[in-house]
């Protein structure tokens, strides 16, 4: 049979699937994982809204996804997503951010949303660089990396964004690389169903800008294989020394807290209490 079959995730797109990302960019793998998670949960796509910011990660949902999409200013997605969730709490709000976007200019919004435990699913595409603007060092770029703003090597220690989210109070945190697309999808499912602030960090290949920094320019396959080699499951990491873990990506579900009051529930409670007086 020579009939063309449609991609099983095509129904989630506004028109043709046409990501204009660089060849081999991890964005598309993450997009597939998000959509597959939603598909397996069998949630009506119209009951989900996406918020994204400025940076390559912003292009995952906007304008491609065939549901409500809000594409906002750099670093502010989580703040906008908070207002949206407060206004329409019955809608699931998924936020696609980047490491530069939410780790740098948006850091304050990240830690406060985690502290408030507002029911959002934040998917942080961590490519270790500011990709869209030409490869500048990001707060996640490893020490001594040579980038367009650190020609002599970066002199700052990078953030561990997942640890930051946990410390700020996020009630579900996971990290995967794009190499682990299936576990990523499963964590996204869990995050969507989790009532509270979920943070999923995805270490993702930027073959053009970050590939250049690590000598794998335009070589997404090598970058993926590097993720495979350097990934350590959280369980195994507990048996390893700090030295052994130095360049590794600790992947898995890093934190889960239940029974922490969620912000929209608290708002409802305040309304009930205010009426009583």
């Amino acid at each position: 049979m020579n009939k063309t079959i449609e991609h099983p995730l095509k129904k989630y797109f506004r028109g043709e699937i046409n990501y204009t990302t660089c060849s081999g960019c991890g964005n598309g793998i993450i997009s597939q994982s998000i959509l597959r998670a939603i598909d397996e949960l069998a949630i009506n796509f119209g009951d989900i809204a996406f918020v994204s910011g400025i940076g390559c990660s912003g292009w995952i949902p906007s304008p491609s996804f065939n549901t409500d999409v809000l594409h906002v200013t750099h670093g502010r997605s989580i703040a906008f997503a908070t207002g949206l969730k407060l206004a329409i709490p019955q809608t699931k709000v998924i936020v696609c951010v980047g490491d530069g976007d939410t780790g740098s200019i948006g850091g304050n919004h990240l830690i406060h949303a985690a502290r408030k435990n507002i029911d959002l699913t934040v998917i942080c595409v961590n490519n270790g660089i500011f990709g869209m603007t030409g490869g500048q060092a990001a707060p996640t770029t490893p020490y001594n990396s040579k980038t367009t703003t650190t020609p002599y090597g970066s002199i700052e220690r990078p953030f561990n964004l997942s640890n930051l989210a946990v410390a700020a109070g996020a009630t579900f945190v996971a990290r995967w690389t794009t190499y682990q697309a299936r576990p990523l999808k499963n964590s996204i499912k869990k995050a969507i169903m989790h009532k509270g602030f979920s943070f999923i960090e995805v270490v993702s290949q930027c073959p053009v800008q970050y590939g250049k920094v690590i000598g794998m320019r335009n070589d997404p396959v090598s970058m993926l294989m590097n993720y495979k080699e350097k990934s350590v499951n959280i369980r195994n990491s507990k048996k390893m020394s700090e030295d052994e873990l130095k360049d590794k990506f600790i992947v898995g579900e890093l934190a889960e807290k239940k029974n922490i009051p969620e912000l929209t529930d608290e708002i409802k409670r305040l309304r009930r209490e205010a009426k009583k007086r």
Binding site: M1, T4, I5, E6, H7, P8, L9, K10, I17, N18, Y19, T21, C22, S23, G24, C25, G26, N27, G28, I29, S31, Q32, S33, R36, T178, A181, R182, P207, P220, V221, L224, M225
Partner: protein, 68 residues
């Protein structure tokens, strides 16, 4: 049962690397984006693991589980 939308392909090679039984390789042809896209070499060996579909950043590969 592996359908490759050759013009959607950007030639990244990820599907080829992620195939566990190595039955994908770059074709000699160029698509309309000017890159080599993958072709299937021994389709009968395909286990329908769906790696090629799941890891394609451009949604260019579809694995049809219904067809043999």
């Amino acid at each position: 049962m592996i359908q490759i939308n050759k013009d959607a392909c950007k030639g990244c090679g990820i599907c080829i690397a992620m195939c566990p039984i190595k039955i994908l390789e770059f074709s000699d042809e160029l698509n309309n984006q000017g890159v080599h896209f993958p072709k299937i070499t021994q389709e009968e060996k395909c286990t329908k693991c769906e790696n090629c579909m799941i890891y394609c950043p451009d949604f260019a590969v579809v694995v049809n589980k219904d067809e043999k």
